[in-house]
Amino acid sequence: MSAATNGASPLLEVRGLRMHFPINEGLIARRHLGDVKAVDGVDLTIQHGETMGLVGESGCGKTTMGRCILRLERPTAGEILYNGVDIASLDRKSLMSLRRRIQVIFQDPYSSLNPRMKVGSILSEPMRVHGIEADATRRAARVRELLSLCGLNPNFADRYPHEMSGGQRQRVGIARALALEPEFIVCDEAVSALDVSIQAQIINLLEDLRDKLNLTYLFIAHDLSVVRHLCQRVAVMYLGRVVELASCDELFDNPLHPYTRALLAAVPVPDPTVEAGRKFQPLIGEVPSPINPPPGCVFHPRCPIAVSECTQIRPELRELRPNHWVACGVVA
């Protein structure tokens, strides 16, 4: 049984996913120098209606994971089973119908909306591309419906993105993702660029929509507090691998992997009394290059509890507590 399997027929099942980006040199005589191993063997399942958090620092491969699931990248190896169909190897035509069911919300509401399109065209474009709501009047009505669903005035259809604030733009980005009535949405740092007071509005909106439309989310983020609030399960990634996977409260209350522990300790809590009582030792060093990751456990050069075996044996995910998986050879 793999780490990822958990109950009956999941919506999404990722098996042994690898995404390596080649580094080449020279224009005529191309030489292959190596690979950036952005994702290096990940297993993950997501159930219907679940919100799965994917956390980690820059370069850990969380965004590449999301892009592979959206098939914006063709994975180097591995399977991505969506309702049992392997989408890693689908052709263009079959992908089209898949994309109606899997949508994405991007981080930056400034660069992900076309500045020369009105909000109405931004929202009706996916419908035109996929040939649903062929009638223009019906489409306009649907646009108004989407806008009010996302807490915007339906008259915003006539506005351009630059006439809106960051929070309003992100609502448009969410409305666009909903235009095709998808069942699964990849939220890639969907609230990271927003100010605190606006961020809470958008988090609430994402929660309301999940309940109302029965959505499944893959919520990719580096802000652990937001993930704790929004997700049911969390996977922690480090250098292209999942190092810990558990239900949300279990992971945050009882982290087992030394990287997860360090990550949680590094996040300051907005409460001076709690902070004064915390003992805190920052993690030493920086994330190594994914071109040439360390042998054995990729975390061993920074790990406070590493032993000599860690430099040779790559730890697999083990179920140390019920439904709590950890890729560490030392903790028990």
Partner: protein
Amino acid sequence: MPLLEVRNLNTEFRTGAGVVRAVDGISYTVEPGETVAIVGESGSGKSVGALSLLRLIPNPPGQITAGEVIFAGRDLLQLTEEEMREIRGSEIGMVFQEPMTSLNPVLTIGRQITETLEQHHHADRAECDRRANELLGLVGIADAGRRLKQYPHQLSGGMRQRIMIAIALACGPKLIIADEPTTALDVTIQAQILELMQRLTQQLGVALIIITHNLGVVARYADRVNVMYAGRIVESGTAEAIYHDPHHPYTIALLRSVPRLDRPRQARLDPIEGQPPDLTRLGAGCSFRPRCRFAIDICATSRPPLEPAGAPGQASACFRRNDLGTSEGRAA
């Protein structure tokens, strides 16, 4: 006597859309060796306020229109440009958000550190090199000899920010202004940099103004806090008082709207409704009034001054400051 006293500072920008009062009459003090945080969301004037202290506001379109900045007994706003240059980088150091854009890409690290020393201390080459080596050791960079010969692009983000801190410390300043020093960094690196800044400022007795939007960072590192909204300080006090007994509706709402890592998932976040104000169209009343759940009639017509409320040294700019207290704050 305070090290720094800011009195009624005003900074405006003349834009096509009208005059933006980015900083609208702020006053605060910084004692020697103290860490003061300035917290606020985008557009609250926190960065412009700090840049104004060093007169780094581009003119046009910006202009400091009123106020005094008394630093070690002298009003910085009255100095000549020549005298001001003597203060910048020497008595007051600066650490910016994005170390890649604030370091010069075509000069070696060593050159950028020694430049400051030559400019301000007129030290000779050997003395500069010796001091640069020492500074790198101080900020925790090993192998100083090699690093000094490298260029900024050869270093990681965290390493570059260490260099920025080394430059800020080079001439033995009395005050360092850090503008979002860790916003561009990953959370484990952020923790390293903040711990380093805290250790060095304590060890060397340097006062620190830290500008941030991160309420957790403030709770962990600040002695005192100024909360800004729409160009004004709306609440100030010790970190303890601000977090546990806030007396301004904005502070109360801000603390309630952040999800917390140290607490199990709550039912729903309590966001601040509405959008941040348009600074070109501020009315006569309190600028937080449209989003405030405690607003009364007078809030629409006159501006509440910053007056004592709550704990000793705490002040709030709200007409209802004495009606607001622990019960509203605790719910955070």
